[in-house]
């Protein structure tokens, strides 16, 4: 089982992506999708040493929250670009202490921060315990940190075991 399907999640993702890309739900397409989904993980297995354990249901809820926040982020950043004068803008560097420990979880956390309202993640500390984030408009950086940690990091701790 593990020889044939070293990464079942990756295989499932490849099958779904192949079907979505072709957009033609016939038996032939599904067969080709399954061939790709089985062969690619087998040949790329040496580059995927570990397999993070992920809880699926909270991950779906997280994706929905992030999609909604991206929608809101677009309007907020557009409003800042259009209507806020440069000398009213309060950009700030924010250091977020990390409770997540796995590389995958920190990567997803940093990516989420970059896509959601007014923040871009810039760097991680060499000790892996802090994230450097730039906020476009943060009059109160401490509340920004608390918001991001409560909204995203708490949920990611439930997803990555």
């Amino acid at each position: 089982m593990s020889r044939l399907l070293p990464h079942p999640g990756l295989s499932a993702l490849l099958v779904v992506m192949w079907m979505v890309m072709v957009g033609d739900f016939t038996f032939g397409t599904l067969f080709l999708a399954l061939v790709v989904g089985v062969l690619v993980p087998i040949f790329t297995a040496p580059w995927w040493p570990g397999r993070p354990r992920v809880r699926f249901r909270p991950a779906l809820a997280y994706a929905a929250i992030v999609l909604w926040d991206i929608l809101v982020a677009n309007f907020q950043v557009a409003a800042i670009i259009l209507f806020r004068r440069t000398h009213d803008l309060r950009p700030a560097w924010v250091t977020i202490p990390l409770e997540l420990t796995s590389a995958e979880a920190i990567t997803v956390f940093a990516g989420t921060i970059s896509l959601t309202p007014g923040t871009v993640s810039a760097d991680v500390s060499a000790c892996g315990k802090y994230l450097l984030v730039h906020a476009l408009h943060a009059p109160d950086p401490a509340s920004e940190v608390a918001k991001v940690k409560a909204r995203y990091e708490a949920r990611l701790k439930e997803i990555f075991l």
């Binding site: 992506m17 950043v77 950009p91 990516g111 921060i113 871009v120 760097d123 892996g128 450097l132 730039h134």
Partner: protein, 141 residues
Amino acid sequence: MNTPPLAYADLFVSALIVLGAGFALVGSWGLVRLPSLMERLHGPTKASTLGLGAMLVASVVWFQLGKGVWTTHELLIPMFLFITAPISANMIAKVHLHRLRTGEASEPAGPAGPPPPPPGSADWATHEVPHEGTPGDFAGD
């Protein structure tokens, strides 16, 4: 009353395309007017994602109502964008941090000033090799 259903679809699709183009324009305007590099990074990572999203929804709706076929491959484009946009923003930010430290920045630090060092003895990973046993340590691989 005799308006064919396609006219409504055309109106809807046109509205989506205009919305998408508007957001793309705002994102580009952000590049022009925001004060420094780190602020300008916010424009393309955010305001342009909705612009692209609206145009892709317009494409799906147009193929469904105009041609009667469901297209799904548009859904993959935002997925790849959401994976790659934070990474390119991160790489630009890291180059900026590095150049600020070495004094060869293409422009001075913005209104937020140079970034503060992290608490503790470690530096940011742009300036220091990730410590052994941390998530960024790939020395043994």
